[in-house]
Symmetry: C2
Subunit: 957 residues, 2 copies
């Protein structure tokens, strides 16, 4: 299931169908379930109590083994302890649920019956592997413990069975070290180096190395003879006793008890926790425990073990892909002790086993209708399947496999869509470094993978330098301690951005994602020195002008210019085809956030069906405009009051007259410039809606920073210019305690109406010009930050008059709308009133999240929010994916709004609009569209389709 599905509340934890059939052999065993719940599902022979659909309860591995058994494939008998047992274990204070242990013993008896061996039997010992297995495959969970059940007595039986004493002792030695490390938590041996750094050594490996040393330098494991191994076993047992304070357990039952608990414990291990957090997997799923009869791939040349994929997971090519080792156990393959031959070699080495395996692989792929990742062991010529699961695959492979399988008639287009992760689509659209060059490159540092893609350029440390160098034809990477809006012009021209500070949601990261530039942020190892224009990390220093390469997908920084492999959407026919399928399925339209014609055109080529957010104030900052805007702001209040006096027929002072003149002159200039901006965008989006938001940020954002100006004036002392002092006074007078909650959005428009009046005129005049050029402009004017319906009424009344006047004068029919952002909690509660006037809603979920949580994003993400997510106080960052309460507010607003205006068009703009999980929510509550940055449009197309499919699947239940 794709991540949208798994993260959605209430989508998890579907009830498991009751298992009807009970295998006769099991019934015969006289086993009864004593625990209150059914905690154990066994398999063996050709029957299993579970099946492949029970991943929630049995985990992926357990469900796979059950399904394979049911399909008549050869599996070693065993049983699964359910995820529910794991959860009950934790909820009862880390105690095995009552009755579970008896059930485990009963299940062991069944396995004994099926294998004809005995757990702890000295003559014919049953050995088992114990493995964790959650619903989703998770690194960081418990590794496998093999050969459990061995002790010095049962060892004799193993030796007798294999006829190989060395094999027996080697197995025992391995078992002790595995069990000691994984189950008994034997600590590493930490040694402090001369430079103060600490290195951890595995104590068992140290003992092994010591044993090998006796056979000379470069000796191998295989050089150890039975005596060596016996001594090693003694040494291992001493290590356990010395570090853990108890004897190594000989009783197979105790071994099993401890191993089961260790698997449970691994569910809340740090790495497992971190992984779940990063992947948004719920923490309450729990892990299952699989106890499986050991089979041995290391019993001679008629034995072996391997892993294989039913198709190439890198390219998607339809070919059996994998490796195997003759006379080896699974861990040898994974550890890479010997170079493993390709799976094709098996056809030559053991043709019978190969053919059987090949057939099984094909059968499993057909059965699961997906590429499988298989593990198998051949014991003395007999093939055993140990695992089957959906294979992880690269983005390219995912797309190719999806398309091929549809062609093959194996899956439908809809099923194919569910197989591709939205993140993989994103990946396909980013440049990559050439894999070989990358492998050979010198990694300088590693930071956060803040915005994916590969960037190569000369290091520069200031935005102005970036612009200057780019103008001279250079490619640059902007390196900063951190970035601020003042650096935007440099970021816009750079190939990529590298910062030492700030998280995945810092200014650098957010802007980089928005403009589609690779970014490595928060690279704490990096020390940036602006005065020397250098940056140092791990002893390597780069100077201004030195070439560097950033991998925004991994967070790596390389010295030098690595060659890249480009990834143009236009070239990716497979991806385009998949997204066309997505378009047929999805209910949500995908719009884009774009402030410039180029961005709009690019988004349109990616499939954007409209612009959901065009931020007019972004244009205010460019080049000479900032000066015009500042000139207006400095006199805005005086001029606005003066205009009030004029309207009341009062006389103005000379100062007031000058202010009005300056203000109006600036406004007139701005109006012309903005009209040009809008013409470009409306033309680029001809025939599609363009939602233009009126000025939103507080005016002081366009003025110099208060602290900087304060220092400047203070430093100058008596020599401070009047202009600087006046500027300081204006900045101070506009200063706000909490600008996020201050004079911005429609409040600003109501206080100083000219800004929004000229913007409205500019939009309509632009539309007229575009219309006259025979195109089809569809402007929608969006009024931000409405909390009370009267704010909308007052603003809209003012602006509708402006708009109507422009249109009347031009004598051209223009199809325009007025609407509002819903971004203040209060607005959600009175959306029915607001919808009386607003022709559309667009959710501003960034502000809505800020206010509903009472978080200032700027402050929180660098501070407590980070820790909240780390400490699981919050399940995830609500600025990245919508919080369920925000979704409830939105749902209320949609329902209330449509009560008043049934055909109300509702969308979402802002970063959540490009987040697959949030897109799922938006689908669920019936939005008309999501709007995201141009680069997220393809991702959003897929995510919207998946949401629609999931919705359909849930309805079909």
């Amino acid at each position: 299931m794709h991540p949208v599905a798994r993260a959605r509340p209430a989508a998890c934890g579907a009830t498991v169908p009751a298992f009807k059939e009970i295998d006769n052999a099991m019934a015969d065993s006289g086993k009864t379930y004593k625990a209150a719940k059914r905690y154990i599902y066994a398999w063996g022979g050709s029957k299993a109590e579970g099946n492949g659909g029970m991943k929630d309860l049995l985990g992926g591995k357990g469900a796979g083994l059950a399904e394979m058994t049911n399909a008549g494939l050869p599996t070693p008998p065993g049983f699964t302890i359910t995820t529910e047992a794991c959860n009950d274990y934790f909820s009862s204070g880390k105690k095995l649920p009552a009755g579970l242990w008896d059930d485990v013993l009963a299940a062991v008896r069944v396995v004994e019956q099926q294998t004809g061996k005995g757990f702890g039997d000295p003559k014919s010992p049953l050995l088992v592997s114990v493995r964790s297995g959650a619903k989703f495959s998770m690194p960081g969970m418990m590794d496998t413990v093999l050969n459990l059940g061995l002790n010095e007595t049962t060892l004799q039986g193993l030796v007798a069975f294999t006829g190989n004493e060395r094999f027996g002792w080697d197995a025992y030695r391995r078992f002790i070290s595995m069990f000691g490390r994984i189950v008994m938590d034997v600590p590493s041996h930490v040694v402090k180096g001369k430079d103060g750094s600490e290195v951890a050594y595995n104590r068992f490996d140290e003992a092994l190395d010591a044993a090998k040393e006796k056979h000379g330098k470069g000796a191998r494991d295989t050089d150890l003879d039975v005596d060596d191994l016996k001594k090693l076993v003694a040494a291992y047992k001493k290590i356990v006793k010395d570090t853990v304070g108890r004897d190594f357990p000989d009783d197979p039952n105790e071994q099993l008890d401890l191993a089961i608990k260790a698997v449970f414990a691994s569910w809340f291990g740090k790495r497992a926790n971190d992984y779940r957090n990063s992947q948004k997997i719920a923490h309450d799923l729990g892990t299952a425990v699989n106890i499986v009869t050991m089979v041995f791939g290391n019993m001679g040349d008629d034995s072996g073990t391997g892993v294989a994929f039913t198709r190439d997971p890198n390219t998607g090519e339809k070919v059996l892909f994998g490796e195997y080792l003759v006379n080896a156990q699974g861990e040898d393959v994974v550890a890479g002790v010997r170079t493993a031959p390709k799976i094709a070699q098996l056809a030559t080495d053991m043709p019978k086993a190969y053919n059987e395996f090949k057939k099984i692989a094909e059968k499993l792929e057909k059965h699961y209708k997906d590429v499988q990742d298989l593990e198998f062991t051949i014991e003395r010529g007999r093939l055993y399947m140990l695992q089957t699961r959906s294979a992880k695959r690269t983005a390219a492979a995912a797309v190719r496999i999806a398309i091929d399988m549809v062609k093959e008639g194996l899956i439908t287009q809809e099923e194919a869509l569910a197989r591709i992760e939205p993140a993989q689509v994103d990946q396909l659209l980013r440049d990559q470094f050439d894999p070989k060059a990358r492998a050979a490159a010198k990694r300088m540092a590693k930071g956060l993978n803040a915005s994916p893609g590969a960037a190569v350029g000369k290091a520069v440390f200031h935005a102005d330098t970036a612009v200057a160098w780019v103008e001279k034809g250079q490619k640059v990477v902007l390196v900063r301690e951190e970035t601020s809006p003042d650096d935007f012009h440099g970021m816009a021209v750079a190939q990529g951005i590298l910062t030492a500070k700030g998280g995945a949601t810092s200014h650098a990261a957010v802007v980089a994602r928005q403009i589609g530039k690779p970014c490595v942020a928060g690279c704490a190892e990096l020390e940036v020195n602006y005065s020397t224009r250098t940056a140092t990390a791990n002893g390597v220093t780069i100077k201004e002008g030195d070439p560097i390469s950033l991998d925004g997908s991994t967070g790596e920084v390389f010295v030098g210019a690595l060659p890249t492999v480009s990834a143009r959407y236009e070239d990716q026919k497979d991806l385009q085809k998949v997204l066309e399928w997505a378009d047929k399925v999805r209910k949500l339209q995908i719009w884009t956030n774009a402030d410039k014609p180029e961005e709009a055109a690019q988004a349109r080529s990616y499939g954007a069906q409209g612009i959901g957010l065009c931020r007019t104030e972004h244009m205010f900052r460019e080049g000479p405009r900032l000066e015009i805007v500042r000139s207006a702001i400095l006199v805005a209040n005086v001029a606005t009051r003066a205009k009030g006096k004029i309207a009341a027929g009062q006389d103005l002072t000379a100062e007031e007259k000058a202010a009005v003149k300056q203000f109006d002159a600036s406004m007139a200039k701005l109006e012309v410039l903005q009209q040009g901006d809008f013409e470009g965008i409306l033309a680029a989006m001809s025939g599609l809606p363009v939602v233009i938001r009126l000025i939103d940020p507080p005016l002081h954002e366009f003025l110099p920073n208060l602290e900087d100006q304060l220092v400047k004036v203070t430093k100058a002392g008596d020599k401070a210019t009047t202009k600087d002092k006046e500027l300081l006074a204006t900045i101070k007078s506009m200063h706000e305690q909490n600008p996020m909650l201050g004079l911005r959005g429609c409040r600003l428009g109501l206080m100083i109406p000219d800004f929004v009046k000229i913007q409205t005129r500019a939009i309509l005049n632009a539309a007229v010009a575009v219309k006259k050029a025979k195109k089809d402009p569809r402007p929608e004017i969006m009024i931000p930050l409405v909390g009370h319906v009267n704010e909308l009424i007052a603003t809209q009344t003012l602006l509708e008059a402006e708009a109507a006047a422009v249109v009347a004068k031009a004598g051209v029919k223009i199809d325009y709308k007025f609407g509002t952002m819903i971004e203040i909690p209060r607005a959600c509660w009175v959306a029915d009133e607001i919808a009386k006037y607003a022709q559309f809603f667009s959710f501003g979920t960034n502000d809505l999240t800020q206010m509903t949580f009472g978080y200032s994003r700027d402050d929180a993400e660098g501070g407590f929010l980070l820790k909240y997510v780390e400490d699981k106080i919050l399940p995830y960052n609500p600025f990245q994916s919508l919080d369920p309460v925000i979704v409830q507010e939105m749902k209320m607003a949609v329902e209330l709004g449509r009560k008043t205006r049934p055909d109300l068009k509702v969308g979402i703009c802002g970063e959540h609009g490009g987040d697959p999980m949030s897109i799922g929510f938006c689908h669920d509550i019936g939005l008309n569209y999501v709007s995201c940055s141009p680069f997220r449009v393809p991702v959003a197309r897929l995510a919207a389709a998946q949401a629609a499919l999931l919705g359909a699947a849930e309805r079909d239940k």
Copy 2:
């Protein structure tokens, strides 16, 4: 109806019972209602179509006239045009609703029939007065137009009827000037004085003065003869023509049409708007128009007119109270043209009329069960009642009348409670200036009446000076441009506070109300000069040390020390009795916000039943404590991280060790001091709950201001001390973009747990000490700013351990609770989850309002919010009275919380808890208590009772 009732949404606009009876005379007139709605209700003879219960539709005056008519009292016939007609007039773009005019004419015909006169009839002309009349008596609405129907033709009939030509011309002259000014908007004559100031003259008065001048200096109106008056009429008509551009209308119908529209227009006049805003009266009630047959009190010595109250409205004494004038019209009484004799004089002058009036007055008081404010006219010996309405009264009178009427058996205790305005209770508890001294005093300036009461002291301009002088035994008034938290110590010791800037919700105003000090804020006329330590207004300058007097109830500032009259609750037995009645009725408990034992004790004497908010951080600022707190803050982050390292068994650097030492030492000192604070409060409130809120504000609030420190370090340049530079660095590192939404409340506790841990220990140790002193401490620990249940779980888990440890060690049983503030919108949505852990909720409606509206109170109230209320974008300031959406959020939280925990105790702390309208809401949604500042406790007791009564009344409907 008291203001709680009127302001509550959905409490207004109750449907009016259909009027069944139609007077036969009216039916006979053949009058049919052509308008779609019934817009007109007539009265005359002894029958009226309306009644006293129809104030919504007929306004107070119309309903009173109808009621009096129905009661058989003598009223001049007339009719009322409903408030609904007024609203329809506006909603149809200032057009009289269809059919209304025909109905008016028909109603005029009925009046003609009843009076035997004709509207416009030259022989026997019907003249009418036209008056506005809204549901609530409102200054700023249209004045009365008398004698409407007069023109040069009908004038002849009037002359014939009165036999007095001069009377006729004088009436005509008065009519033109009244109608001209009020209906036709003849503008004033504005003259610029030598000093540039503008003075406005009534043009009609100017003409009148010119006419009188001809009779010599000091001539009176009565010196004008018929010829003079005829010339004056001509002059008046010319004024109309010259200024308005049209002839004065002769047609009585046109006069009536214009007058009706003028009444409607006056509903949205500026003064009326302002008044409604200030009194929280809805703007959509509309005004009625009353058209009443003219009767003449100026027809000789057997005629007269007067106003009277059924009891003394100043003292409440049961005595007929009022004035009358022989041979005069109503306007003469109001204008004070002649000194009017007391009403008792009427007994001598016209005993028959007096006795009739006295009986009517008694009848009306009994009928309405309230003191009446009456207007009457005697025309040639015949008494006409023109108005009856509930009398406005002083606070003292309100209480006395309520008590007397209950004694008299006229009303019940419950009815008595509804008669007293909560604001009057507040007034009774404030010191007042001696009225005589006040009348003689020199008023220097006038500002906002920000916090009521009288304050006298020497002017000081700095908080430190205030403290120093008070320590020397002086009484001071703190005069500031504006105040900040840094001035708190000065405000706390001052008699009163005067500021030049800031509104009714500025820091000065809010704090003054909280600590019960009189405050005049936003006194724009005042220029404060800190360097010369002077303040100037209107040409008067006061120096430091000069005595001044503030009246916080009126906003007036006087030079010199005025004598005051004290108002101690203990002395006000009547008030106490009324509040005891209130206690029997109310469902809400009244708690108080208090940070100190003295405040707690005072609130308890006012009837407080618990402490709803004890702000621990207020204690952090006092005297030497601030240094201790700062010392902790400076190393808080390093020390907290270091403690994490200790817990993980890692070594600390020397710097970290020093930080931990410094931090722990400060914390230990603070713990001891806080324990002392809590002991005092818990002892003072023995037996009652004390809700103590853990530290809430961001830590940087305890550090110097960033800008100040920046200037200090910048100025010092190279000479800046390391300490100052380090302090600046710390301040910068703690600086937040939006501190309101930043690291505060429980977030702070989760980041730096020691602050809340020591506070919890201090609270429990204090409780132990108080318990050991044989008192009954009931601490309730409140965790602020919870938005996600996990924040509460994490904090509460941490602190419950601390609390349990203290109690276990002491071996004493302590009854303590943990609860949370609900002040973040998100918390309202998940209140069911939160209530699983929280034992009580307390609404922090200030923050809830800030976040739900997206307003930063600090920024908004001085800025756009003021204008929003002025411009009616918001009906009122949501920080003063709860907004309906906030109430909805609260209601949801209460319902969800009690779903989980049915006995959940829910209260409100913060300023809304002392606001009568908000108290009404709190009652409605089922809170257990409201908590307000000590001085508001008596007010809240009454408001809570009124809310309960209103609730009961609504249920009884």
